[in-house]
């Protein structure tokens, strides 16, 4: 566990999804040149607004003042909301060993208790090619080399996203940590932990995922509104993982019969037509 906490810090300071406004307020997310432009332009705008002496002028002066503050502090609330940064290195990977830079991305942590031993769950998960069996948004995972794999996932609007990942830390039977490699459509880093649960209740499985959503935090917010938040996705994935490991199958109603197909009269009465059954 300790090893992983360290690993996560490595990929980026642990950033909670909510309640971090104050901490983020202190960070610099505007580039040096842009800060000067912001301060000078804002100053000019404020002066111009004040000389006009009208209501509109006061509004201009206020906008100008906000730009001056943005230039002086190097922090932009709008960029923050968008999960964007023009500060040096902010929009780029600042190191080969970092998939989601500090101050960027969204962290999600979810857990489930599964009535099976930790080792069994670990081994199943460690074969990444098993993951699409319970992670519905994954199309495929292909192991490409020692600790390396290629992932294809369904994206909104019928598109798909792909990335290569590597295991950068693992502890046999306890923990696996992975991160995306250069060129990923979505940068992410995650880990899964298998701990013996108390009282013979099986295994406490915990997933920590940090990802940099396309469109920044604003994009993530919009995705959540449309029910495609990774947080919900992980909850459901873990539920299916539990089903698969405890019962050997994933509960489903997909493909079952209903009166919805009545209009089309498709494939009715295969069995009931065969009399005598």
């Amino acid at each position: 566990m300790a090893a992983n906490e360290e690993a996560l810090t490595n990929v980026g300071q642990a950033t909670e999804e909510t309640g971090e406004g104050t901490r983020m307020g202190a960070t610099v997310n505007v580039g040096q040149a842009e800060r000067w432009a912001s301060a000078i332009g804002g100053g000019a705008l404020a002066l111009y607004g004040l000389t006009r002496g009208s209501l509109g002028g006061i509004a201009l002066a206020l906008v100008g003042a906000a730009l001056v503050q943005r230039g002086a502090t190097g922090h932009c609330n709008l960029y923050d909301a968008m999960g964007y940064s023009s500060a040096e290195g902010g929009g780029l990977r600042n190191s080969e060993n970092v998939s989601v830079p500090a101050g960027r991305g969204i962290k999600v942590e979810k857990s489930v208790t599964i009535n099976r031993p930790p080792g069994e769950l670990y081994r199943f998960w460690r074969n990444f090619e098993n993951l699409p069996r319970f992670m519905n948004h994954l199309e495929s995972v292909r192991v490409t080399g020692e600790g390396r794999s290629h992932w294809v996932a369904k994206a909104p609007a019928g598109r798909s996203v792909e990335w290569d990942a590597e295991i950068y830390n693992e502890k046999e039977g306890e923990m696996i940590a992975w991160r995306t490699l250069e060129g990923a459509d979505v940068d992410s880093a995650g880990s899964v932990h298998f701990e013996q649960a108390a009282g013979g209740r099986g295994t406490f499985v915990r997933v920590v995922l940090k990802y940099d959503p396309p469109g920044g935090k604003l994009g993530a917010l919009v995705a959540r509104l449309f029910g495609e938040s990774p947080e919900q996705q992980i909850v459901e994935d873990l539920g299916r993982f539990k089903q698969l490991m405890e019962t050997g199958e994933v509960a489903t109603t997909e493909g079952q019969t209903s009166g919805r197909s009545v209009a089309t009269k498709e494939q009715t009465s295969g069995r009931s037509a065969s009399a005598g059954r």
């Binding site: 539920g239 050997g248 994933v250 509960a251 019969t257 009545v262």
Partner: protein, 388 residues
């Protein structure tokens, strides 16, 4: 095959739909020989239950003959007669291992819908909305039964369908309600509501050693069946329930009280009940709802057992009375799987014949009419059994 499909409020139709098929290794397909309409189906019929979709197949009380089994089902074979419990349970999770089958962790593919409403999700149920799993129900010629190696109980030859059909829901539900009362010798048990679950609760309370059972309802036909089962009856439109119960128990109150009515008594809308309840509370009349009355009538330190279905929020709940008297509350969806075999034994030994409450036998094709008759309590309707 033919199946009763839901298309909207009071709009159910028998349609030709595709036959069910095996979707998972632990599934079986059953050819249904008898199926029943449950009081809780009326909540769907009257449009109270959210997350229904047009075309959903209803029905959660059914039995039949196994016609196909999935690769992992080894305990059943084609031709076996089985009764299918209404909750779907995996048998492997924390809850199933403790006999809490209706709290199964693994059988509801739409668990997230319930989690949003209730915090955690219970088992998937047959034919009872998408929030409860969205499984096609058994008011049909065939049904797919998930976890068929856990739920269905095999029925010995020579036992009539009608004698065992109610093992699927209402008999175990009435039984669990009585069991939850932890009946001691000399106990008096009061039962609100003498519909099928109430009637089974009365019979079960006697099976479990109750000295006396008092049955409360307003329909003469139901009260007659309750009396035939050995209960003392109170028609609440003619007598004061609290006064009667205290008189019967020497001023102590019943040792336990069973609310077999639930949220949507008498087929009125939730909104109507809510308004009525509010009005009644402010006027402080004597026509309170079953649960409130049960709480007030129950003796100190007694148990209130609730098999009646509740779905949302309760208003004007007399929690002060419950607290001060130190009542115990027991409730929940029935863990049917736990009771199937012991109750089947009671039937086999002839100690109980569950078919006593069937008033209507109809064809599956007539199901829409049957819903109407049952809802409106026409012809003293207590229980409808359908034959596909």
């Amino acid at each position: 095959m033919k199946a009763l499909c839901w298309y909207g409020k009071t709009d159910v139709r028998v349609e030709d739909v595709p036959d069910p098929k095996i979707l998972n290794p632990r599934d079986a397909v059953v050819r249904i020989t008898r199926t029943a309409i449950c009081g809780s189906d009326l909540h769907l019929y009257d449009g109270f239950i959210p997350t229904m979709q047009k075309g959903d197949i209803l029905g959660h009380e059914f039995m039949g003959e196994v016609v196909e089994t999935g690769a992992s089902v080894t305990n059943l074979k084609v031709g076996d007669r089985v009764v299918v419990p209404f909750p779907i349970a995996c048998g492997e999770c924390f809850f199933c291992r403790r006999g809490l089958f209706s709290a199964c962790d693994n059988s509801n593919p739409n668990a997230w819908m319930q989690e949003k409403l209730y915090g955690f999700s219970g088992a998937g149920l047959f034919g009872y909305s998408h929030m409860m799993g969205g499984y096609a129900g058994g008011q049909a010629e065939y049904a797919r039964v998930p976890f068929a190696d856990v739920g269905p109980v095999k029925i010995p030859d020579g036992l009539d369908d009608e004698k065992v059909l109610f093992l699927s829901d209402i008999f175990p539900t009435g039984y669990m309600a009585a069991e939850n009362c932890q009946i001691q010798p000399g106990d008096t048990v009061a039962v609100w509501g003498c519909g099928p679950v109430g009637l089974f609760a009365i019979k079960s309370a006697f099976l479990l050693g109750a000295e006396r059972v008092v049955a409360i309802d307003r329909f003469p036909e139901r009260l007659r069946l309750a009396a035939e089962s050995g209960a003392i009856t109170i028609n609440y439109t003619e007598a004061d329930v609290y006064d009667e119960l205290t008189a019967l128990t020497g001023g102590i109150g019943p040792d336990s009280c069973i609310d077999a009515v639930g949220l949507e008594a008498h087929g009125t809308s939730i909104g109507a009940i809510y308004d009525k309840v509010k009005t009644l509370m402010f006027l402080a009349t004597d026509r309170s709802t079953a649960l409130r009355e049960a709480i007030l009538c129950c003796r100190k330190g007694g148990t209130v057992s609730i098999p009646g279905v509740y779905g949302g929020l309760l208003d004007k709940f007399p929690f002060g009375a419950a607290f001060d008297k130190g009542l115990t509350f027991k409730m929940g969806q029935t863990h049917v799987q736990r009771y199937l075999r012991p109750l089947l034994e009671h039937v086999v030994r002839g100690e109980i014949d569950p078919s006593f409450l069937i008033t209507h036998r109809m064809r599956l094709e007539d199901a829409p009419e049957a819903y109407k008759i049952f809802r409106d309590k026409q012809d003293d309707c207590i229980k409808v059994v359908l034959k596909p």
